[in-house]
């Protein structure tokens, strides 16, 4: 009924001729509606656009309005002329090349750099690293220090070669069987003078003869790499860690809290609404409803201190329940549920009662199957509300392991590393987190309208 279209709109073939001013108004309405819509959707575009940029491009002035597709560079090392060139040498050399290139060209958008080892016409190994990975690593491992061969060898063996593809022999470049020998190598600044590194086995014995770079690079190539556009998204999932906790975990925490909250609305609020609608006298129901609805007047800031101390007293801090439980008294959901149950035909329940069905079986077997639509509305409303919540989770979830993505993204925006904020990563994470609620709004808008409008008017 809400969506009934106006019949009186001027339409073609109407007998009364449209006045000129109406046409002007309609043209005006189209023009401004479309302009406004473009402006309104622009921040969304900006969100997605920034999330596929790299950090240098995000701070570029003036900013690019369309994303530039980064290039993927490929280097081929042909060691046919050097029979003594071993796999270990390739590991060292490719890692050093890749890291040196990225480190010395921070402002060039190199999506990915791949080094291939070819010997005797046969591909023997591949190392590849994306710029995003490099930056993530660099911020985590080498924050503020300059890069040197020793650190690269030590730390890349730990983590940087995660993107390395296994070679033909099934030999991973990333195995941790060796490391750089000693700290004296720290003097070996990459790309400056001595390019030789002494490598040893894990226990420090058996020093291998140093391999000296002789630039056996035989070919380089470059091509557009569309997949590198999503490096920030990959980084969000693969490399982003806060106190050892990844972004997946934060999304999962938000999801657990949101679904938990939805479940309790189904279980408790729906039952209460049914009880108030059908099981008590109207007079009492009205009094109780007034008491429940009156809680909408109380802003959450009012009871935050006693609630916090209550949460602490029951040692629920850093527990999902501390977020879920205080959200249960949701008067809007109660009113929506009750309104729906009130509209169900009374005869149904009466007939079932006469047949001797208990109130519980009436509720669970008959009412709930009839009420999917209102349960759906509540699910969407409560899920979005909890998914978006910032303040309360920030206060009660102080352990990183249980924090929601809102808390983490908010904290990231407060942490400025090396003078600039990594907006592409922040916005890529925001875009990922926006997806579930965005999909709900995109696909269930019509169903949600009732609940949204209601909570907007009364809330």
């Amino acid at each position: 009924m809400m969506w009934r279209r106006k019949r009186i709109l001027p339409m073609a073939g109407n007998k009364i001729k449209e006045p000129k001013s109406d046409l002007v108004l309609r043209g005006f309405a189209y023009f401004f509606s479309i302009c406004w819509l473009i402006a309104l959707l622009f921040p969304l575009y900006w969100l997605v656009l920034t999330s596929v940029k790299d950090q240098a491009a995000a701070y570029k002035m003036p900013p690019d309005l369309i994303p530039t597709v980064p290039y993927e560079y490929k280097l081929v090392i042909d060691s046919t002329a050097y029979p003594e060139y071993t796999y270990e040498d390739f590991k060292t050399e490719s890692t050093l090349i890749v890291w040196y290139e990225f480190d010395s060209n921070p402002n060039i958008n190199m999506g990915k750099l791949t080094v291939q080892w070819v010997s005797g016409g046969r591909l023997k190994g591949t190392t590849s690293l994306s710029q995003r990975t490099f930056k993530a690593m660099r911020n985590v491992i080498f924050s503020a220090t300059s890069l040197n061969a020793y650190l690269i060898m030590r730390d890349t063996n730990m983590s940087a070669c995660q993107e390395v593809i296994e070679d033909d022999d099934g030999f991973s470049v990333c195995d941790k069987s060796y490391r750089a020998a000693d700290a004296s190598d720290q003097s070996n600044r990459l790309g400056t003078e001595a390019n030789s590194i002494v490598l040893t086995d894990r226990d420090g014995s058996n020093p291998r003869s140093p391999f000296v770079f002789e630039n056996p690079v035989s070919a380089t190539s470059q091509k557009l790499s569309f997949s590198s556009l999503f490096n920030n998204y990959v980084a969000a999932f693969k490399y982003f860690k806060e106190d050892g906790v990844g972004f997946q975990q934060f999304l999962m925490n938000s999801a657990v809290i949101s679904f938990g909250a939805v479940f309790l609305q189904w279980l408790l609020i729906a039952a209460a609404a049914y009880g108030l609608s059908r099981l008590v006298a109207k007079k009492i129901a009205n009094i109780l409803m007034t008491l429940f609805i009156a809680t909408m007047m109380i802003p959450n800031i009012v009871y935050i201190v006693p609630l916090y101390s209550m949460i602490q007293r029951f040692s629920l801090k850093d527990n999902f329940l501390s977020v879920i439980l205080p959200g249960v008294p949701n008067a809007i959901a109660l009113v929506l549920f009750k309104g729906f149950f009130d509209d169900l035909p009374k005869e149904l329940v009466e007939a079932a009662r006469i047949d001797g069905a208990s109130e519980y079986s009436i509720y669970f077997r008959m009412i709930i199957p009839l009420s999917y639509s209102v349960f759906g509305i509540i699910t969407i409303l409560v899920f979005t509300g909890n998914w978006n919540d910032i303040m309360w989770p920030t206060m009660v979830l102080s352990d990183t392991k249980v924090q929601t993505f809102s808390v983490v993204i908010n904290r990231m925006m407060g942490n400025i590393v090396n003078g600039s904020l990594d907006y592409p990563l922040v916005l890529a994470m925001s875009a990922i987190a926006a997806l579930p609620t965005f999909i709900l709004f995109a696909f269930f808008q019509k169903q949600m309208t009732k609940g949204l409008v209601f909570s907007g008017v009364k809330g």
């Binding site: 009186i8 509606s33 406004w36 009871y303 908010n410």
Partner: protein, 304 residues
């Protein structure tokens, strides 16, 4: 003798039935009711009481100190600063944001083809979590890499500080309200659609133009919903927290610190629990006042 026996028996059966029905109803309502009582009434009541105490977390509720917390609040100049900021932010919200969805809904109502699509797209941004929207906003206002300064540069104006400039921060927090859309646009649009067709038919027979209908028919019929939304936007300005918390944390130098942000800061950084609760009671009083006004509006709307 026999008669009275039967009567008491009948009474007791009826009573037992009643009792059974009571327990069934109770089992449906009580669990949720308990949550309402514990997490809303009990905690709010505690706030009310503890606002008269020198509240300590280690040993709640601490000493009774009468009205000292309230006196401390009202004698603190930063409270008036917060009050002023709240009022200014509300006024900016009115100037930049409040009228936009109304105009958008009115214009939307004039469209013929593609109206459904445009309405749909207007509402879609409401599905983006607030933290994501705020992250975009923060990036747009970034003094070194943000879009706002890029646009200023394009038209030859030097870079501004925006969110880190005390003179600009309040406008920046509210000016994106000009984009409108979202749920509030939908509310007005639904309100327009609920106006009876007969009025429009009559107006058309009288030869009214669409302009005339908009100003003399649609707008007057939206008076109530506009009034309600105005009060709601007042109370939401009063309680604004998320955007300020994420974008400025009340800074720079308290230039965007609203009352709720002030309560949060006083609780979090100064352990001023008693003072925080006293302030929250003041907020509660103001909100209850606003809601009563809203109810009055609703009632008047019902009569009209």
């Amino acid at each position: 003798m026999k008669e009275t026996d039967a009567k008491t028996k009948r009474n007791s059966v009826a009573f037992r039935m009643k009792l059974k029905r009571f327990w069934i109803a109770f089992s449906f309502i009580a669990p949720a009711g308990l949550f309402f009582i514990v997490f809303r009434y009990y905690t709010s009541f505690q706030s009310l009481v503890y606002s008269f105490f020198n509240y300590k977390f280690s040993d709640p509720p601490g000493n009774f100190i009468g009205f000292d917390n309230y006196i401390a609040v009202f004698s603190n100049p930063s409270f008036y600063n917060q009050l002023w900021n709240t009022v200014v932010l509300f006024l900016f919200g009115l100037a930049f944001g409040f009228w936009v969805p109304i105009v958008q809904a009115l214009l939307l109502n004039e469209l013929t083809k593609g109206r459904g699509v445009i309405r749909y797209l207007y509402v879609v941004p409401a599905g983006i979590p607030s933290i994501a929207m705020l992250a975009v906003q923060k990036y747009i206002w970034d003094p070194t890499g943000g879009l706002a300064n890029a646009i200023l540069q394009l038209i030859g104006i030097e870079s501004q500080g925006f969110l880190i400039d005390p003179d600009q921060v309040k406008i920046c927090l509210r000016i994106l309200g000009l984009l409108g859309g979202g749920v509030s646009m939908l509310i007005y649009y639904v309100a327009i659609n609920n106006i009876s067709d007969e009025f429009y038919e009559a107006a058309k027979v009288d030869g009214a133009t669409r302009w005339r209908m908009m100003f003399s028919l649609t707008l007057p019929n939206m008076k109530n919903i506009i009034g309600i939304q105005l009060l709601l936007s007042l109370s939401s300005s009063l309680l604004a927290f998320d955007d300020i918390f994420v974008l400025t944390q009340g800074g720079p130098g308290g230039a965007s610190e609203t009352i709720v942000m002030g309560i949060y800061n006083s609780i979090y950084y100064n352990s001023g629990y008693g003072i925080g609760m006293a302030m929250s009671v003041i907020v509660l009083v103001i909100t209850v006042g606003l809601v009563s006004l809203q109810l009055w509006f609703n009632k008047r709307g019902g009569e009209a």
